[in-house]
């Protein structure tokens, strides 16, 4: 995959609500096929950056470019179907079965029934869920980890080149979380998608990222590959590094 091509670009982007800035002057190039992790405390503007990419939000200043086209020039519906989206707890539709959840976007896109069926089965297998056992279940009949797997399968359904993930593993117990992080890391490398991943867990960031961007009050204060990241002198980087120190009580 060409790692030099730019999939997403923020050009001097600011976003505010009622003149209260949430994101300030962010410029960032995300290469095609990379996994960029947006790291930061709650309220640092990570999720807002994510939502600016698929035009759930529109910048108050500057512009976001996806595949060479400014988001405001994209048809919002087309843009979003071109981008997979995973949120905490999966955000699954509780009235749909697992299969209905996964096939939503391909169905909206008018894929043929047999092709949709095949796609759902192969995605469930990819996420280590046996279609025969899980396809007909409702989300409430799944564990948290299984729901999250279905959430990822749903996001991948129409084979979008870009995947946005908003703390997808945040609500899971530590053991399940570590399992899914490991599997997902391997999967991400294999699929070659451009992934923008939001988390407040520095361990997760270092594990999954090709680059980590650290956000403080809506600004990117550090941007580096995982092995370089902790060497940065910025106090917020050091605060996150301190959170990594093993301490009685286990994971953060």
């Amino acid at each position: 995959m060409p790692l030099d091509a730019t999939a997403i670009e923020f050009r001097a982007v600011s976003y505010g609500v009622n003149s209260r800035p949430i994101v300030s002057d962010v410029s960032l190039r995300i290469a095609s096929g990379e996994t960029l992790v947006l790291l930061g405390r709650s309220g640092s503007g990570k999720t807002t950056l994510l939502r600016l990419i698929n035009r759930m939000l529109v910048p108050t200043r500057g512009e976001v470019v996806v595949d060479g086209v400014v988001t405001t020039a994209w048809d919002a519906i087309r843009l979003r179907r071109h981008i997979g989206y995973v949120i905490q707890e999966g955000g699954l539709f509780p009235h749909f079965t697992v299969a209905e959840n996964v096939r939503l976007v391909p169905s909206l896109e008018g894929w043929e029934r047999s092709r949709v069926q095949e796609r759902v089965d192969s995605l469930l297998r990819l996420m280590s869920l046996d279609p025969a056992e899980y396809a007909a279940r409702r989300p409430r009949e799944l564990s948290g980890g299984q729901r999250q797997r279905v959430g990822v399968a749903r996001a991948l359904a129409a084979d979008p080149p870009i995947l946005l993930m908003d703390e997808p593993f945040g609500a899971l117990d530590p053991v399940t979380r570590a399992e899914l992080q490991g599997e997902f890391g391997a999967l991400a490398r294999r699929l070659g998608k451009t992934i923008v991943f939001v988390t407040h867990d520095v361990r997760e960031a270092l594990l999954l990222a090709s680059r980590v961007a650290l956000l403080v009050e809506g600004r990117i204060v550090a941007l580096a590959a995982p092995d370089e990241f902790l060497k940065i002198a910025h106090p917020e980087v050091q605060a996150f590094a301190a959170a990594l120190e093993p301490r009685a009580g286990g994971s953060p």
Binding site: M56, A76, I77, Y85, I87, G91, L92, F93, R140
Partner: protein
């Protein structure tokens, strides 16, 4: 005259008025649903309309039912003596619970689910029909259930303006000071309300998505 002998002597008449009563309620409910559900759907997206519509429906609900029937009689087109006026009054009463529950149900859908729907590229219309509406169906149905039970009761007053129904026995019984005649109207009305409540309650539980 005991209740049973009156009941036995007037079987056919009681059955006819029960059917008449049922028809009044059914027609009024269909109209109230056709107005209330779409209006409730419109309120989700229109903040300005919300307070006004719920407020007006609330005010109508506070008018004593006998007075409302009276008020409607002199109004042209919808007024007069008879069924049409009665149905208009019943619709007015049934509207609030349906409108309110439709709005509350649609507005109460888990924001995370709506966010996912939007992020996946569903249009507003698809989100409404395929996500919001199915997920709030049981709440909407609860409103319809409340409205139906209210309407069965209020419809007994329709007899006062010549619309017939089980209220005819109740008004006649009051005039004759006969409990037997009153009960001939009141018992079937109560049974109708109970069965509507049970049937719609069952449907409501069936449609519930947790």
């Amino acid at each position: 005259m005991t209740f049973w002998s009156f009941f036995a002597d007037h079987r056919a008449e009681i059955l006819a008025e029960t059917l008449n009563h049922l028809a009044l309620v059914a027609i009024a409910m269909v109209i109230a649903i056709l107005i209330g559900v779409p209006l409730g759907m419109a309120l989700v997206r229109r903040r300005a309309l919300r307070a006004a519509a719920l407020g007006i429906a609330n005010v109508f609900q506070t008018i004593p039912s006998l007075a409302l029937f009276g008020f409607l009689i002199p109004i042209p087109l919808i007024g007069g003596i008879g069924r049409r006026t009665a149905i208009v009054a019943l619709v007015v009463y049934a509207l609030l619970p349906i409108l309110r529950n439709t709005y509350v149900g649609l507005a109460g859908v888990d924001p995370a689910v709506l966010e996912a729907a939007e992020a996946m590229g569903m249009t507003d219309r698809q989100i409404l029909w395929r996500v919001r509406l199915p997920l709030s169906l049981s709440v909407i149905l609860a409103g319809i259930r409340t409205a139906t039970v209210i309407t069965v009761g209020v419809a007994t007053i329709a007899a006062a303006i010549g619309a017939g129904g089980l209220g005819s026995f109740i008004f006649r019984g009051v005039a004759l000071v006969s409990n037997a005649v009153i009960l001939a109207g009141a018992i079937p009305a109560a049974l109708l309300a109970l069965s509507a409540d049970l049937a719609l309650g069952w449907a409501e539980r069936r449609l519930k998505v947790i």
